[in-house]
Symmetry: none
Subunit: 413 residues, 2 copies
């Protein structure tokens, strides 16, 4: 199946927004075995969009449009595409109810233009939006061309693609062959090192293939096999994975495109019935906020401290100000005291403490990026020093991930 | 002048690389007053590139191609474009010398394929590459169409664009006009409501234009004027802005593409020399982490509490467990006590407290999304109830932003 992606939005043509949707969709469609031959961007202009749709009809079997499903006058993707394929626009009942509920719970008046968002093609399939109000559309024309209309915001587009569009597309891919994918996630090793360590494996592989992707603070490997025998495909992936685990298994932490290191840690804590607290300086609450992003965290986390200054370190955690004075707040002594005290005060199994230099200026004579992390258990406390590169934001995020990695290793002991 | 951008490279169509070149070029061309009407991506395939060039000739005056100028078999942008416009490819002398020097100083053998990189159109202009070996090309056809060929790596494309292409393009832009933009940021009003309130203003405007853009938890308006008199352009924007402020000024919080509500709040706190603490339940540290994302926060924030459970609310903040029992933890009484106690304990000017139901299940008989936020000052404490929609993540982010909005309003009193 030949596909193309059309992103609609003047903000893309003005260079105000990067077209990450095209990248995401291209990667996912490739994973389904669908060949993307073109990506295009066009502004909020009906004539030019119509023109592009005419070209697209000549060269593609699947036309994926994203953006322009919203409530404003600029949003015209549905209207133009409906006219192009000769479909009438009708209200989607589920989307309409969701819209009404949204404004009711917010106690705000619903303006008329919002109704545009819940229009769908009369003979198309409505794709529900779990993260927004604009309903998506899948439609197959009498000529057998498929049209997939998705919302522009990535936070809406991604779940709609995964949960609504993907199952439909899978049915249309013209082959008995299926692609089976397995995503392996690694923390603590860079992409170039991982690729070097696996160089011969990656070079040899044609089926299954191995594709590395660098993400912020981690690397994933996507193993993909094309097969018409599912059981055999899975055996091939198992074999390939075991070769990979042999070399870089020390950095492997979990499977799955939407998995995260914090999620793995929360699952481990629940499984082992351990509780956790935290005392954060450098990260200002970022570790605990990340922890609380995971549902089910209430079983393992009761609360913790943000001790951003020396004063709050001393007052909240009853740390001797002389210790802070003597060793400084960016030191093994400081984070070990923070972790030990926090654990004792909240009476948990584990406590993590983070302190460091986020910048822009150095602190206590230590360069930007210097980070100390301690982990206290009932009988012990350990600490590590890290030197994270780049800017404030990256340093803080890296510190949070390093803390989760420390806890994971402790729990697996 | 109407322009379009064609990025060439199969890696873009596989979703392995984000097309940031299109974003960069679009923004720069808009700055020159050149209208970009299309962006396209095509793989390393001569037939499909030739087809795209035919479309481009029909609809654009300037065609910017990027990528595919390198030494490998995949790199065919020059060859295909040369054939398309009927130009012979010849060696560029300056580029050839640079290539020879490169391999000489590195003491590596130069393989034949490298010579492809220094080919240029016989009647075109060579654009030298200060960061790589592939020479760029600018060419104007007998039909008056302009072709600009740039290398794919952003580190090569950007200097070549700024230093070589821009001076040429400026001569061709048939105008002294420039674009001046102003971004206004709003919190507390949805995109559809904002657009409704400003409907006639947006509809009337052709120059300056008003473009709304929804971002998570906020909306921005970009005001853009095309002018050949900078002072007059700024006056036009001022006039337009004052009409907008009259209607929706209550929701306006600041200017600029990269500004944020937390940044505005930290600046206000510093300006007014006020300090702040927080006690977070629902948001698990997310408010404080967001606060600490801003450099300079050390002057206004010493630390705070993550009181995720009733136990830590009682223990950390010395709140009477009977109060929590009687009113529940998702209540005005609870957040007011949290804010009052936190403020007193850290001895700050202000304290914010957040509690609510993040889901997935309801809590204390209250539905998912119910959120209470309190703000304590030395003499007073106020609280508000919110009902945020959608998922855990969205509810928590919305609560953090609502808290910043409360503080901003208090500081502006």
């Amino acid at each position: 199946m030949k596909a193309e992606i059309i992103a609609v939005g003047t903000e893309l043509l003005l260079g105000q927004v990067v077209n990450t949707n095209a990248t995401f969709l291209s990667e996912e469609l490739a994973g389904l075995g669908i060949d993307v031959y073109y990506q295009s961007v066009v502004g909020d202009n009906p004539t030019r969009l119509e023109e592009l749709l005419e070209y697209a009809d000549k060269r593609s079997d699947l036309i994926v449009l994203c953006g322009g499903l919203g409530p404003t006058k600029d949003d015209l993707t549905k209207q133009v595409t409906a006219a192009h394929v000769g479909q009438e626009l009708v209200q989607d009942e589920v989307g309409y109810q969701q819209l009404m509920n949204y404004f009711e719970t917010r106690q705000r008046p619903m303006t008329e233009n919002n109704l545009l968002q819940t229009l769908v093609f009369k003979d198309g399939r409505a794709l529900q939006n779990t993260a927004g109000l604009a309903v998506g559309i899948f439609y197959t024309s009498a000529q057998g061309k498929h049209y997939l209309l998705l919302p522009g915001p990535p936070s809406e587009l991604k779940p709609m693609f995964y949960h609504q569009a993907m199952p439909i597309l899978k049915k249309y891919v013209q082959t008995n062959e299926q692609l089976i994918s397995r995503v392996m996630r690694f923390y603590g090793i860079g992409e170039s090192q991982l690729v070097t360590d696996l160089e011969d494996i990656i070079a040899q592989q044609t089926n299954p293939t191995v594709a590395p992707y660098a993400k912020p603070n981690e690397v994933t490997l996507r193993l993909t096999v094309k097969t018409n025998d599912e059981a055999q495909g899975i055996r091939q992936l198992d074999l390939l994975e075991s070769r990979i685990q042999e070399r870089v298994g020390a950095y492997f932490y979990g499977y799955g495109e939407e998995n995260t290191l914090p999620q793995v840690v929360v699952e481990l804590l629940r499984e082992k019935q351990k509780t956790l607290t935290a005392a954060e300086s450098l990260t200002g609450g970022g570790f605990q906020a990340t922890l609380c992003d995971t549902a089910g965290v209430t079983d393992v986390f009761l609360g913790g401290f943000v001790t951003y200054s020396a004063t709050t370190k001393a007052n909240f955690l009853q740390i001797d100000p002389e210790l802070l004075e003597k060793y400084g707040t960016v030191s093994a002594e400081c984070v070990e005291a923070m972790a030990t005290q926090a654990r004792a005060m909240v009476d948990t199994d584990l406590a993590i403490a983070l302190s460091g230099v986020a910048g822009p200026k150095e602190l206590e004579g230590q360069p930007v990026g210097t980070t100390w992390i301690a982990l206290a258990t009932k009988d012990n406390v350990i600490s590590h020093c890290y030197h994270f590169p780049r800017d404030r934001n990256y340093i803080r995020k890296s510190a949070v991930m390093a803390a989760f990695d420390l806890i994971r290793k402790e729990l697996l002991k």
